[in-house]
């Protein structure tokens, strides 16, 4: 079959990202031709500022060099501007006469700088700041001339001013509004930024309008005259008064580009122009649902959806983006989101440390965040933004909202929590020994934009994940405005699908999907049978949503859950028998000792969960070891109930107020065989001395004289999180019902590999209380669903060592001979 022809007009970041996504999906579908007005490959426009400032060089900011086009058989016409689209003959024509036919056309012409109609704007020495050419002209001017004026104190204007200042020019910034970056910052934050720039030597003239640019004797611009009559000397004027979508070539071809305020190539949710379905458009030239985006993250989202349709996959819609602004302005981090102007019906929480250079303002309306501005320390911007998007009720966390979420683990990075202050040689990832410099280098050299890409290339944050927060910070500050954090909320499960965990869970429930192949078919999975990330997630969602109906697929479980033992680094396994509540008997201990002797077990260890671990067992020996132990599986290997740790309690302890051992045993017995999104650990203490350390468990139960206190969503691992008080109950039955209902809620709604602490953080404790405390019917229904799911739970070990065990259960423990 003859290949179809795809032509792209514009060779910038959004367009090339679309091509990259397309080549991933359908590498051989099209003959691709690209026209770019600039004589280069695709480069990272956001990094022009470091180039201007002399911190980076042009080769360093190339995203796709000329080799990339060659390697992918893309015809590149660099330096040829398309001036005409003939939609009838389906071809595009460039200024120099070059023509290209298309079956499908992608317009990605980006934006052009807006030059206000000021007399003298066409003089030599007057520039916009948009591309490599402008940057080179500024660098050239800086070596020759002294005085620069920048008109406009938005991000680009300030970056230009800073770069020119670093190159030795004396710079004055003229701005129309009362404070700088008024779209992104409120006045206090803007004042701090201005003060820090003034301290470096930058001059500001605010609330001033430019009247004319004056021509000097040489014919070059020589001064800027303001409306109030003031004149400032200027050998170089940079106009940074905003950008406008560049849709001229599209509009002249009769493609609808709007009128009035909403201008831009009008596209549908599939990124097809509303005028001509053969013509697609992405990037800054586009108006989608009345919005033209200027940040990279939404443009990449558009590119992804567009590529999907170009590849004839036909799924995925771009439904618009809620954006936040996270920028690095001349080395200072600023963040803003939502409506931060405030008003009569809003409240504010403000932290303002002028000397320390930190300002944080959160605007709240009806217990929900509606806007936020951060200056100097933006690490929590992502969190505030997520809370805002989710409309989460924040009154429970109001008292510590300002101090941030800090998604960092507690160990492995010497307590560092701010990437900016770390040296290049400082270790970020303590699991894989990756330091900051390595990460920064990988981000720049490989053009990485997401945490997942950084994980893949550097291995940082790819093991325990405790340093993910730091890696995110490094990424955000290295790629600047191109970075937008993807929350677990909408993040795709893995590369096999566009769908998020939440969407997959919903679909499995709504369509009553009962096995993995049907699920993948219904949800148009991109790979034939998924991958090691999505299959275990799907398997869990199926069996937890449809207990006793959905088919459990052992091949979609991680080896530990398939072999019912923990794989060790040398390929042997460890065996942890169940020991309810950490209580054992002489007979059990004797059997464990006998097994250790018989199989020459190299290591016998007491676990953190009050059990005994036999390490170094060969896989072939597992069934016999289990049989000889004569104890059920402790599920120490699963995303499942692990243990219920107990203290001695009122049974023996002179301080004990409640019988914690038997409570723990009852709970652990009830939860036997419970699979969950991640591991689940419980503890029961018999008095508030809390010797069982119930405060860092998924469910912690603490006996008091008058009953039991229940705590949920604690965590003792990567990040120590103290469990939150849920409620106090009186009877043992209530302990079972309330904890069971909470765990079932988590089982039904948690995302795979999301611990209870993160689940509760995502939905809010208020939400949990609403389901588990406030509504007795809901609670009882949850509890019943849990008990139903756990009905007839079998000991997986006994099933496998049984004499009449089916071959499929035994097979994996038997080796073959060659």
């Amino acid at each position: 079959m003859k290949k179809q022809k795809l032509v792209m007009i514009g060779n910038g970041m959004a367009g090339c990202r679309t091509l990259e996504e397309l080549l991933k999906l359908a590498p051989d579908l099209y003959d691709i031709t690209v026209f770019g007005a600039e004589p280069h490959g695709n480069y990272n426009r956001i990094l022009l500022s470091p180039v201007l400032a002399g911190e980076m060089t042009l080769p360093e900011i190339m995203l796709n060099d000329l080799d990339w086009y060659r390697d992918n058989d893309i015809t590149l016409h660099a330096g040829k501007m398309v001036t005409k689209i003939d939609r009838i003959k389906r071809k595009v024509i460039a200024a120099d006469g070059t023509e290209a036919d298309y079956d499908r056309l992608l317009i990605a012409t980006g934006s052009t700088p807006f030059i206000p109609p000021i007399p003298g704007a066409d003089l030599p020495g007057v520039l916009a700041y948009r591309d490599i050419g402008d940057t080179e002209a500024m660098i050239a001017a800086s070596s020759q001339y002294k005085h620069a004026v920048v008109i406009g104190a938005g991000l680009l204007g300030l970056e230009a001013a800073n770069g020119l200042m670093l190159r030795g020019m004396s710079v004055t910034v003229v701005h129309l509004a009362d404070w700088i970056m008024e779209r992104q910052l409120d006045k206090p934050a803007a004042d701090m930024l201005q003060a820090s720039l003034e301290a470096k030597g930058m001059n500001f003239l605010l609330a001033k309008q430019t009247e004319a640019l004056i021509r000097g004797e040489s014919g070059r611009v020589s001064a800027v005259r303001l409306k109030d009559g003031m004149e400032i000397p200027a050998d170089l004027v940079v106009v940074a008064a905003g950008i406008r979508p560049n849709f001229a070539v599209a509009e002249s071809a009769g493609i609808y580009c709007g009128t009035g305020r909403v201008r831009g190539i009008h596209v549908s949710d599939t990124l097809q122009t509303v005028t001509d379905p053969r013509v697609y458009a992405v990037g800054e030239c586009v108006a989608h649902r009345g919005i033209a985006y200027g940040l990279v993250a939404p443009l990449f989202e558009q590119g992804k959806v567009c590529a999907n349709h170009l590849a004839n996959f036909g799924i995925g819609r771009y439904e618009g983006s809620v954006t936040s602004t996270k920028l690095k302005v001349t080395g200072i981090d600023v963040f803003s989101a939502g409506d931060f102007s405030g008003g009569a019906d809003t409240e504010e929480i403000v932290l303002h440390d002028k000397q320390g250079g930190v300002y944080k303002r959160i605007v709240i309306k009806n217990n929900r965040i509606v806007g936020s501005v951060l200056y100097g320390d933006t690490a929590d911007g992502t969190w505030y933004f997520q809370l805002m998007k989710d409309q989460q009720d924040i009154h429970e966390i109001r008292d510590h909202l300002m101090f941030g979420q800090n998604h960092l683990g507690d160990a492995g990075h010497k307590g560092e929590n701010k990437a900016a202050s770390m040296a290049d040689t400082a270790e970020v990832c303590g699991c894989n020994g990756v330091c900051k410099g390595t990460i920064v280098k990988a981000i720049k050299e490989n053009g990485l934009f997401t945490v997942d890409e950084v994980k893949k290339h550097t291995k940082a944050a790819s093991s325990c994940g405790s340093c993910t927060g730091l890696v995110e910070q490094i990424l955000a500050s290295t790629v600047g405005g191109a970075y937008q954090a993807v929350s677990a909320h909408d993040k795709a499960v893995c590369g096999c699908t566009e769908l998020s965990h939440g969407a997959v869970r919903r679909a499995i429930r709504e369509h009553k999907l009962l096995n993995i192949p049907d699920t993948m078919e219904t949800l148009s999975w991109k790979t034939p049978n998924g991958c090691a990330t999505c299959r275990p997630a799907l398997n869990y969602y199926l069996i937890s949503t449809w207990p006793h109906e959905a088919k459990d697929d052992p091949q979609s479980r991680f080896i530990n859950e398939r072999a019912h033992a923990n794989i060790q680094k040398d390929g042997t396994y460890s065996v942890v028998p169940q020991m309810l509540g950490g209580v054992t008997t002489a007979a059990e201990l004797r059997r464990i000792a006998d097994v250790a002797d018989k199989y020459a077990v190299p290591t016998v260890k007491v676990t953190g969960g009050q059990r005994i671990d036999l390490l170094g067992i060969k896989k072939e020996d597992l069934p016999n070891v289990w049989k000889d132990l004569g104890m059920p599986s402790g599920h120490a290997y699963g995303k499942s109930i692990r243990t219920v740790k107990t203290c001695v309690g009122a049974e023996h302890c002179r301080f004990g107020t409640q019988r914690s051992m038997s409570m723990g045993i009852d709970l652990e017995r009830m939860l036997f065989g419970m699979w969950s999104p991640h591991k689940v650990k419980l503890a029961v203490s018999g008095c508030p001395r809390n010797c069982a350390e119930a405060g860092i468990k998924d469910v912690g139960v603490i006996g008091v004289d008058s009953g039991w206190e229940l705590y949920v969503a604690g965590n003792g691992g990567i990040k120590t999180e103290v469990a939150q008080f849920l409620c106090k109950v009186t009877t043992r039955e209530e302990v079972m019902e309330y904890s069971g209902a909470f765990l079932q809620l988590y089982r039904e709604e948690g995302y795979y590999l999301e611990r209870t602490v993160h689940y509760v953080e995502r939905v809010g404790l208020e939400y949990v209380k609403k389901h588990v405390l406030d509504d007795a019917d809901k609670r009882k229904a949850l509890f019943e669903r849990l008990l139903f799911a756990l009905q007839d739970a079998k000991d997986p070990w006994a099933e496998r060592y049984a004499k009449d065990a089916a071959p499929v259960l035994r097979q994996q423990f038997e080796t073959l001979e060659a």
Binding site: N529, C531, A532, I559, I567, K569, Q812, T815, L816, A818
Partner: protein
């Protein structure tokens, strides 16, 4: 290094020298594996969803993890220790990881899995 990797479903009943019958195709679970003890060390044989069969040294090029215990998807297996992805047909690690484990020739004849083990 062995490079001939015959596709499965070879209908010819001719059994060349060096080929050894290991088990029935049905003895390997779909999207699963079995371990074969041989003079050359442990060999993992995999079966994917298309009933293609692959064999390679049961050692991940990264830290020697037993690939037989990994999750099989498409024509790849993900190592159970540190999630490297290994290409089943070549034994090569999937980029950006770099490394290779030794593949062995394997084929299916009349529903039987045959492996070529050179000493």
């Amino acid at each position: 290094m062995t490079t001939t990797l015959s596709p499965s479903h070879v209908s010819s009943a001719a059994v060349d020298a060096g080929w050894k019958t290991i088990c029935a195709l049905e003895d390997i679970p779909v999207l699963g594996s079995r371990v074969v003890k041989s003079r050359a060390g442990d060999i993992a044989i995999f079966r994917n969803a298309e009933d293609e069969v692959f064999a390679m040294h049961d050692k991940c090029p990264h830290k020697g993890g037993p690939l037989s215990q990994g999750i099989v998807h498409g024509r790849q297996v993900t190592c159970p220790l540190h999630s490297w992805k290994i290409q089943l047909d070549s034994g090569e690690a999937v980029a950006p990881d770099v490394g290779c484990t030794r593949p062995f020739a394997v084929k299916v004849v009349d529903g039987h899995v045959l492996l070529q083990v050179s000493a």
